[in-house]
Symmetry: C2
Subunit: 201 residues, 2 copies
């Protein structure tokens, strides 16, 4: 290898800088606390204690507790790169939904989301970020699948993408937040099988 001309080698620096190590420690601790007890009981002092970082260091990076929570969400959703393949609308939608269900069910993402939902109502920045980086992304994925489905004659030409998207993802969050059911492996297929007939020609 040649000598590194710059230490800023794109996405993955070989030796994480102190700054990035600090940031990771803070975000990790925040994510843990957020999934354990929600925003209500999240305190910057607990984050500082668990991450082994001074409270002032946290406030040097984020101006308030809200911004810190927003950072955690953004840091999280960047890992949801759901890219489904294509052999029929049924399997494509199921794969897309399975990605979300897996992330929400097997990682801390589910509890973090639940911990932040209440904040979405009053925090415009958080709300906008969630809509742009999660909702819009999912809608566009559904749209791609729907377009291919219409071309293949599997779906009606007037299929409402937004509604279909809500019918697919809504039950997942409803179960996660409210009804108390488990996000089992069969759920995505069952939702798709129940919803799809309403959109066939």
């Amino acid at each position: 290898m040649a000598e590194p001309a710059s230490s800023e080698t794109a996405l993955a620096p070989l030796t994480p800088s102190r700054a990035s190590r600090t940031e990771k420690a803070i975000l990790d601790a925040t994510r843990e606390l957020l999934s354990e007890s929600g925003v209500r009981h999240l305190t910057v002092e607990k984050v500082a204690a668990r991450s082994g970082v001074a409270k002032t260091t946290i406030y040097r990076r984020w101006r308030s507790k809200d911004e810190l929570a927003l950072a955690v969400l953004i840091d999280f959703v960047q890992t949801i790169v759901a890219v489904p393949r294509g052999d029929g609308v049924r399997n494509e939608l199921t794969a897309l939904l399975r990605g979300a269900v897996n992330t929400l069910g097997t990682t801390a993402m589910g509890r973090v989301m639940q911990g932040l939902v209440s904040e979405l109502a009053t925090n415009d920045d958080l709300s906008r970020a969630f809509h742009e980086q999660v909702v819009a992304l999912r809608v566009s994925e559904v749209r791609k699948i729907v377009v291919r489905g219409i071309e293949r004659g599997e779906l009606r030409a007037d299929t409402d993408v937004d509604l279909l998207h809500e019918l697919l993802f809504g039950p997942v969050y409803y179960r996660l937040f409210l009804s108390g059911g488990a996000l089992d492996r069969k759920l995505p297929g069952r939702i798709v099988d129940a919803v799809l007939p309403g959109f066939r020609p």
Copy 2:
């Protein structure tokens, strides 16, 4: 008028006692504040100020802020007495869903719910109360409709009531909490029309 033999005349006392007036004032103020800025920014001192009641009076009735929020939810859901009639599964389910959509969309209930969702994850009492007094109630309503639908041959005999219930109500909450769409009048019918074909014989 005759002399009132007892002031405790069942459900609606003619002259509300001081205790019930106080309780009403506190719950009203809490509900308002909860719908304005969510649990995060709810403070007992604000509730006291708005309701014109001393802070200590609030703590004499509820042991903590959480219990107060729980009381608001319970007080609210008791007004959701959704009793649909019968002339076809489509109309019955639409009526049931319309009741929920109307309450969530036109009253403060929607914002109160969103303000409490995060708390459901960590507060067992609140979670149990919501499940028993809202979810279970809705499931049983759906079940009644499904049973009649199966008898009339409109639905398959193996219809999954729990899943159907989640498919109907999930999109409503998803729209309310996450996707940011409006709870318009057409929504219930559109959800039912999209979901129902998957359960027909």
